[in-house]
């Protein structure tokens, strides 16, 4: 199979799909031109992700990566969220085909973009360098 059982499970039964009405942070990365957009909504209570939802326009591995990423950060402290890597997402999915690894990159970036949005909205100081990876240049 093109995808692992894990990927197909998250693709067929995506966790946390949808939107949050009053999110504390929203991150959107990618562009439809490239064929993939991910949007992550965060609800944050006491420096912890209390709820998370996602919307994705993209391939099977993009949907599975978003689903897995939201599971991995739900209930986690913001420090832990900051430590999320695309590699961890891909590994949690039992791997992705080489040409689909960028979907997991997109998932990491969407989460971090949402976190950055939370910091921005709440005037919380952060080191901008931490978020410097959020761009689409290196995707393809």
């Amino acid at each position: 199979m093109l995808y692992s059982e894990k990927v197909m499970d998250h693709f067929r039964h995506p966790r946390n799909v949808g939107i949050l009405e009053h999110p504390d942070g929203v991150g959107e990365v990618g562009n439809a031109k490239c064929g993939d957009i991910m949007k992550i909504y965060l609800k944050i209570d006491q420096d912890t992700v209390s709820d998370v939802k996602f919307e994705t326009f993209g391939c099977g591995s993009a949907i599975a990566s978003s689903s897995m990423a939201t599971e991995m950060i739900k209930g986690k402290s913001l420090d832990e969220v900051m430590d999320l890597t695309n590699k961890a997402v891909a590994e949690a999915l039992d791997g992705l085909p080489a040409h689909k690894l960028h979907c997991s990159v997109l998932a990491e970036e969407a989460v971090k973009a949402a976190l950055k949005d939370y910091y921005d909205r709440h005037n919380i100081a952060y080191d901008p360098k931490q978020f410097s990876s959020i761009d689409c240049e290196g995707c393809h």
Partner: protein
Amino acid sequence: MIYADNAATTKLSGTALNAMLPYLREAYGNPSSLYSLGQQAAEALAEARQTVADCLHCRPEEIYFTSGGSEADNQAILSAARRGKARGKTHIISTSFEHHAVLHTLQKLEKEGFTVTLLDVHETGRVTPQQVAEAITDDTCLVTIMYANNEIGTIQPIADIGRLCRERNVLFHTDAVQAAGHLEIDVGRENIDMLSLSGHKFHGPKGVGALYVRKGIPLTPLIEGGAQERRKRAGTENVAGIVGMAAALKEACDHLPEHTAKVSALRDKLIAGLDAIPHGALNGDRNHRLPGNVSFCFEGIEGESMLLLLDDRGICASSGSACTSGSLDPSHVLLAIGRPHEVAHGSLRLSLCEENTEQEVDVMLREIPQVIDYLRNMSPVWRKLQKGECSYVIQ
């Protein structure tokens, strides 16, 4: 399972398989061998060549067997280019939505100094003979235009282009991989100089194809070696494959009108049903279209996830062509007919054959809208469109 991806490949027909089996079992001789077992294979090749020639309305000595459509395309184009270069002509005309077997070969020639004009195929997915006429210069050595497109199924005005090329004394090659066995082809009447076809697109085996080259046109080998195929294509012949391809082509051509009627009725029903989905649109001309081809773009969703969900529901479909599925770029064909990138990503191709049924069409018309709805509901792009934050490309 509903198999609706006959443009990617087809099921080997029973007739073709039965024709092949003796050559996979007891009749295993090498056609170049002198003894009876070898000559039996040589006769099978000769018969297959005659059959293929009959289907295209040419002579058997104008047929060269290859390992498939890609090889035939490569050899035809490179061969015409060599001939052109020898005469000081290095301009080639083609279209922007050819198969990669053609486009990549042209790119290779461009690096060698050839100039390539890729004609616009318009929103309809068709070139006009006028475009070809205007593009031909004194430097033009080859026009290569596909008979029918593999993704959107549009049929080109081949006979008109053929006449024109013949008048202007320019070689004309057509990639008929999607047309052979599905459309009536007469290479003589249509003034075709070279034509490529591939066995597995008309219920023949994979890994075997043919190149028609009009008598008198020199052909350069792509694969050098033994004296097979009148020294134009070396390598021990895939006897079983060739015999199977010929049997399948004959079967297809013998039933052409009947299959066309059946398949195009299914196609039209499918198109009518999918037309009802909002913000979706048929790709390419509605009339000049392969009998089995249904190709749509749907806004707000991405093709691959649609295919995977359809697979879960037992429907085999594709998004663009099969052989580029390893790539993330949107289909060059859909871009060529003017679909913007974001819409080109949401494409669905259903390609039918005479084994598909009306019941299957009904199932597809039930399942596909559900899958599209489901995916649109989780798509941030669709939400924005719905909210009016950006505007629909397809009304």
